[in-house]
């Protein structure tokens, strides 16, 4: 192992051109902060060692100096991280070889601390407003747009070259999945492959961006970020009424390319900015679709605290890419967010309450006559039912303690009483025959234009201290202006007055002046296309996050995003039409060795389909997919085994959608319960939706293979396609060709066709029927890496 490490280090030393001294200094200090400061900071200083300043690091700890400037080999720090001798640091996990190399260079170069640019002051790169960089002009024919110039320059610095363009069949598959989450059909692939016109790729991008499927795919990313679910979690896991309206709002927003700054305003303060626009207010559903335990009323104080924490953490994480949570308990150790700042932001949400957004509100008619009549009738009917049951309730209660069950009451009723109840039931049903509930969305608004006060948590030695609403000082700070006086408002008058706190927050965030907003969003878009962000920690742009691999490109994209009216689709266009994106997924040996993580983008990074894409792709290729859009969440049938971990009685809480054609809709429309993920979605890494999820994992586990091989969904879908193909194919060769086209969107190669025909023959023997064999063929194809991965 040690030999290997040395070999790797030696190689890296040769292969990577020396970065600028500034980069080494910043990088080294960042490595120390990220890996050592938990134990070796000013406050912890284990073994007497504090690595937070040059002075204390040179002085060292109980074992003597840790760093000898100019002599990395003799520096105890290097011996410790190399795990030579008695010390092996960090204790749990060795540093990556590349990090060790940065530390060595840094010490050999004198171990200088950079002048200032640490996150603990406002000079940290991400806290400075992006400055539009000069675009390099390489004159290289490979370049198609500005993205490529930045990428090419970085590749050149490492003497790497871009990969050739992906073949057209690969490219269309990649673009389809990336923009719509669905595979193209074989006919679409063929048409694209045969289209020789120079703008065919650009036209394909336009076609896909215009597809309603685009919003369904990209809303999924957003819903992961905002920890969306249809239920609230905890043991009762109740429905969040109308949560799905927010889901549909997000889909619609992506489809119509709503400017991102407006998208932010609607979600944080749609009620304040757009009091006459219920769609915009639906955006505030952002704050309703998270977890809550409001059903535990005895703990309402704790619940409120948890809710506010969720609001602040999710807002700051999603829109600002910062982890503010640490500052709830103490001043942030690594980023310059003092505890007071955290509570200033929390104070912004202090007056916020959940509300129902009337989607077809008539301001002239706040009062609905029909609903009022129905309410009165319902109360009457309730009284009548109770009157009929009264005798039994008393009787049962006499000899059996506790509340009588419905079953017990039913058993006790006399025939006359039962008949009376049946009659009432008929009336009840007829009352609701033409009933259509008024459409509502869930959202938040302020309870009034005044707010409860917010205090810093009390500590020993510190008096109770009130904080005013405001924003992180390091990002420009500022106080919230006082609540507007309704009488002085010249614009539309909202139904109820609010404090204006959230609209102030939205203004701070949704502006080009904010150094993080645009960067964080373009980085997210980039990550969803390339598998990895320019900043690999998409919700941590602070000092413990990863530094950008292409800082200038990030800033260029961020400023371009703003210049193009915060249009998300414009960023897609830039990325998908770039030569960088259209490379093939083959790493050269040089690239695999020098840049194994493909940070420099010398080729495209292959990715596995996400859970939703996988389920949707299966439905698509078997011809089952129902593409209808929007509406209440669909509850698909599940076996008893699959519902084993269900927290409630499934007959009460897993009410399968009656219309079976709904069961095969796109995954984004399925019920998302907080305490129960569909087993297939769960094993393929669907997040739990308790906390914001900026990046899904892509694991490889045996349960995945089991579910796709043996699970009821895959088996049923496989049978469906097999049946169709058997009836339409005259012989095995035709069957194989049709199967390949349907599942893999291409023709089989001759060798594959031969293997598949042999397989059919063998499985016809084993299963006793051609249909049985065809089922096996489809089952096999749906499990292929080729089906599960996008090149």
């Amino acid at each position: 192992m040690r030999f290997l490490l040395h070999a790797v280090l030696a190689f890296i030393t040769l292969a990577i051109p020396a970065p600028a001294a500034d980069d080494v200094e910043a990088g080294a200090v960042q490595i120390l902060t990220a890996n050592c400061s938990q134990c070796h900071s000013k406050s912890a200083a284990m073994a007497g060692l504090d690595l937070s300043t040059r002075e204390t690091a040179l002085k060292g700890g109980q074992r003597g100096p840790s760093i000898i400037p100019g002599d990395s080999a003799s520096s105890r720090l290097i011996q410790a991280v190399m795990r030579q001798g008695t010390l092996a640091m960090p204790p749990l996990k060795a540093l990556p070889a590349a990090d060790i190399e940065v530390l060595r260079r840094w010490i050999d170069g004198g171990a200088k601390w950079p002048d200032g640019p640490q996150a603990s002051d406002a000079k940290w790169w991400s806290f400075r407003k992006p400055v539009r960089p000069q675009v390099p002009r390489s004159g290289n024919a490979w370049v198609r747009n500005e993205i490529d110039e930045f990428v090419l320059r970085k590749l050149g610095e490492s003497r790497l070259h871009p990969a050739p363009e992906a073949n057209r069949a690969t490219l269309i598959l990649r673009m389809y999945f990336d923009l719509t989450g669905l595979p193209p059909t074989a006919a679409q692939v063929r048409a694209f492959v045969e289209d020789r016109s120079p703008d065919s790729e650009t036209r394909l991008v336009e076609e896909l961006l215009a597809s309603p499927r685009y919003g369904e795919k990209w809303a999924r990313h957003w819903l992961d970020l905002v920890r969306y679910a249809d239920t609230a979690g905890f043991e009762l896991d109740p429905y969040i009424a109308d949560a799905w309206r927010y889901r549909d709002y997000v889909i619609q927003s992506f489809n119509e390319d709503k400017p991102y700054d407006r998208f932010i305003r609607e979600q944080i303060a749609g009620d304040e900015f757009f009091p006459e626009d219920p769609v915009a207010q639906t955006g505030t559903g952002f704050y309703c679709v998270g977890p809550n335990r409001d059903l535990y009323p005895d703990q309402s104080d704790i619940n409120r605290e948890e809710t506010l924490t969720d609001f602040v953490d999710t807002t700051v994480s999603v829109f600002q890419g910062l982890t503010a949570g640490c500052a709830r308990c103490h001043d942030h150790k690594f980023d310059p967010i003092p505890q007071a700042d955290y509570f200033r932001v929390q104070a912004i949400f202090a007056p916020a309450v959940k509300t129902k957004v009337a989607l077809n509100r008539l301001s002239s008619l706040g009062y609905e006559v029909a609903a009022n009549v129905r309410e009165i009738k319902l109360r009457e009917i309730g009284d009548r039912i109770r009157a009929v049951q009264e005798r039994c309730r008393k009787e049962i209660a006499d000899w059996k303690k506790g509340r009588p069950t419905d079953e017990a009451i039913r058993a006790c009723l006399s025939p006359e009483e039962s008949a009376q109840l049946r009659e009432i039931e008929t009336q009840l049903v007829s009352m609701f025959a033409n009933y259509q509930p008024k459409p509502f969305a869930c959202g938040i608004t302020d309870m009034w234009n005044v707010s409860p006060k917010t205090y810093l948590p009390e500590k020993s030695g510190r008096a109770k201290q009130e904080v005013e609403p405001g924003f992180f000082a390091v990002l420009g700070g500022g106080e919230v202006p006082p609540a507007p006086d309704k009488r002085e408002t010249t614009g539309p008058i909202p139904l109820y007055p609010t404090t204006g706190r959230r609209s102030a927050l939205a203004k701070w965030i949704a502006t080009p002046e904010n150094p993080l907003t645009a960067r964080v969003m373009v980085n997210r878009i980039w990550q969803y296309h390339f598998g990895r962000g320019i900043v690999a920690t998409p919700s941590d742009f602070g000092s413990r996050g990863r530094p950008p691999s292409h800082p200038e490109l990030l800033d260029w994209l961020a400023t371009e995003f703003v210049a193009r009216g915060w249009s998300v689709k414009q960023i897609h266009r830039l990325i998908l039409n770039s030569a960088t994106y259209q490379q093939n997924a083959k790493a050269t040996p040089e690239a695999a060795e020098r840049d194994p993580e493909n940070l420099l983008l010398s080729h495209f990074s292959r990715r596995r389909l996400q859970s939703d894409e996988l389920r949707d792709a299966v439905l698509q290729v078997t011809g089952s997919l129902n593409l209808s859009t929007g509406g209440r969440p669909v509850v698909p049938p599940m076996s008893k085994e699959e519902l084993h971990t269900f927290t409630q009685r499934p007959e009460n809480a897993w009410v399968v959608t009656a219309d079976a054609s709904e069961h095969v809709r796109r995954s984004i429309y399925l019920l998302q319960k907080r305490t129960f993920r569909l087993p297939m979605m769960e094993v393929f890494d669907t997040p739990e939706s308790m906390l914001t999820c900026p990046r899904r994992e892509s694991s490889t586990t045996a349960p995945q293979s089991l579910t796709l091989l043996n699970g009821p969904f895959a088996v049923e879908q496989g049978k469906k396609l097999a049946d169709a193909l058997v009836s339409e194919s005259k012989d095995d060769a035709a069957l194989v060709d049709a199967a390949w086209r349907r599942v893999l969107a291409r023709d089989p190669q001759a060798e594959e066709r031969r293997m598949a025909i042999d397989f059919l023959t063998k499985q016809t023997d084993n299963t006793g029927s051609r249909t049985g064999a065809a089922v096996e063929l489809i089952r096999g194809l749906l499990n292929l890496n080729e089906f599960l991965y996008v090149d």
């Binding site: 690999a536 009685r649 308790m690 892509s698």
Partner: protein, 453 residues
């Protein structure tokens, strides 16, 4: 390539390594495996492990306000409810003479092997938050549980079986998040073992598919995938997925073998109460737990009680019936497990933990019940070199609050990790800008030293 490779929601792209390969502990590991017996619903401490004669003396009276100040729970009002003595007798057992109620006559015979902790306390008085608190250190779901942390820290000795197995009578009030991996990679998630020959979901080949057919289809997948990989050399993800199909196939043999109790002797089965309708179910699970320990499974979480039927929590309405019934189902099986582990020499390297999300109020709920009581409750541990026959901590004369050595969920978890050879302050995972720990910033009242004497 283990039961799984690589990571549900992380922040950094990772490399493909075998995340369940055995990893060295931080220090000497006393327990190679843990069996955590979780009595789901809330077991009354004052009726089982923590005798309080004062309750009988003050029966039917309310307690003075200063005793119950600040206590609240789900249904009763501490200032108005009346004291109720235990309906069960307590008897001293073993050489240590520790008093145990007649609810657990069989487990009581093991008191000299057990360390009893009477001073546990928490602040969550509803089931789900209390269960999350105990297993994940946070009342809020979405954090990794103890079992997940264990296999994250130590990996597994058996790559053909899940490293972290969960067995339950049915759904838990915590939902699967009670044994979830939270922000840790999905591969560390507890795997629910169901009853029957195929304990893992979708383990059996589809109906009507013979082993021959299944094998041929797997071979076809393998052949096609190899062609695909040849054109994409060096991609370890693709190779790992190919391998996962072979592992899935091996599991179709290894898992049914592990859960097949038919080769156990009648004497062994009898020890666990298998065959007796009252104890058969829980006894089978306890015996299976032992078999999993033998096969190198790292962590086994075994729940007694379900949300959808028999439940310790029926003590709300009827303490006597619920506790008699649930104790009868689990007493002999747990005793059998301790005996069996010991006679096979496994107890020294296996930690057995018995616990519940909270105790129950020493005050009465209605005519016959007791409410949730998170402010004091008891757990016990055995095996893994623990010096038994001893009691840690104590509660006040009514069992309302700890008075000596108060112990939190964090302290319990820190101790369990330490017995497994891990330092709870060093077992960390970087998420949301910080190195997260099972014990957060707590766990300072870890009591390993007490346990080991």
């Amino acid at each position: 390539m283990g039961f799984g490779a690589v990571a549900a929601c992380g922040l950094l792209p990772g490399a493909t390594v075998s995340p369940l390969a055995p990893k060295p502990p931080h220090a000497l590991a006393r327990a190679k495996s843990v069996i955590y017996l979780f009595m789901h619903g809330g077991v009354s401490h004052v009726d089982t492990w923590d005798p309080k004669p004062e309750l009988a003396r003050l029966s039917e009276q309310t307690l003075p306000g200063n005793f119950v100040k600040g206590l609240k729970t789900s249904r009763i009002d501490f200032t108005k409810a009346i004291v109720r003595g235990s309906p069960w007798q307590f008897k001293q057992h073993g050489q240590s003479g520790i008093a145990v109620s007649e609810l657990f006559p069989n487990i009581a015979r093991h008191v000299d092997e057990m360390a009893l902790i009477r001073s546990c306390h928490g602040d969550a008085f509803d089931h789900a938050p209390a269960m999350y608190l105990l297993s994940t250190g946070s009342q809020f779901p979405g954090k990794p549980c103890l079992g997940s942390w264990s296999v994250y820290g130590l990996g597994s000795e058996n790559q053909d079986l899940p490293a972290f197995v969960v067995m339950s009578d049915g759904a838990m009030k915590s939902g699967p998040q009670g044994f979830g991996a939270g922000y840790l990679p999905a591969v560390y998630q507890g795997t629910l073992f169901r009853r029957g020959k195929y304990p893992v979901l979708d383990l059996a080949a589809p109906e009507g598919v013979s082993d021959r057919t299944q094998r041929a289809t797997l071979d076809f997948i393998g052949a096609m995938d190899r062609r695909h990989i040849e054109a994409r050399p060096g991609d370890t993800d693709l190779e790992a997925r190919l391998a996962s199909y072979e592992l899935a196939y091996r599991m179709q043999t290894s898992a049914p073998e592990a859960v097949d109790l038919s080769k156990e002797t009648d004497a062994t089965k009898k020890l666990y109460g298998i065959g007796d309708p009252v104890t058969d179910d829980f006894g089978s699970k306890c015996l299976l737990a032992r078999r999993l320990v033998e096969r190198g499974v790292r962590f086994i979480q075994l729940y007694s009680g379900t949300h959808q039927g028999d439940d310790w929590d029926n003590a709300h309405n009827d303490l006597v019936t619920s506790h008699n019934k649930m104790a009868a189902k689990s007493d002999k099986p747990i005793s059998g497990l301790l005996t069996d582990l010991k006679s096979r020499g496994l107890l020294d390297s296996t930690l057995v933990v018995w616990g519940s999300e909270f105790g129950r109020t020493p005050l009465a709920e209605g005519k016959n019940g007791r409410d949730h009581h998170p402010y004091a409750f008891s757990i016990w541990m055995a095996g893994a070199g623990i010096k038994g026959g001893r009691v840690l901590g104590s509660t006040d004369e009514f069992g309302l609050r700890p008075v000596e050595n108060p112990i939190t969920a964090h302290d319990v978890n820190a101790t369990i990790l330490r017995l497994m050879g891990m330092d709870h302050t060093k077992l960390t995972y970087f998420y949301q800008g910080r190195d997260q720990r099972l014990t957060d910033v707590h766990g300072e009242a870890e009591f390993t030293k007490f346990l080991l004497g």
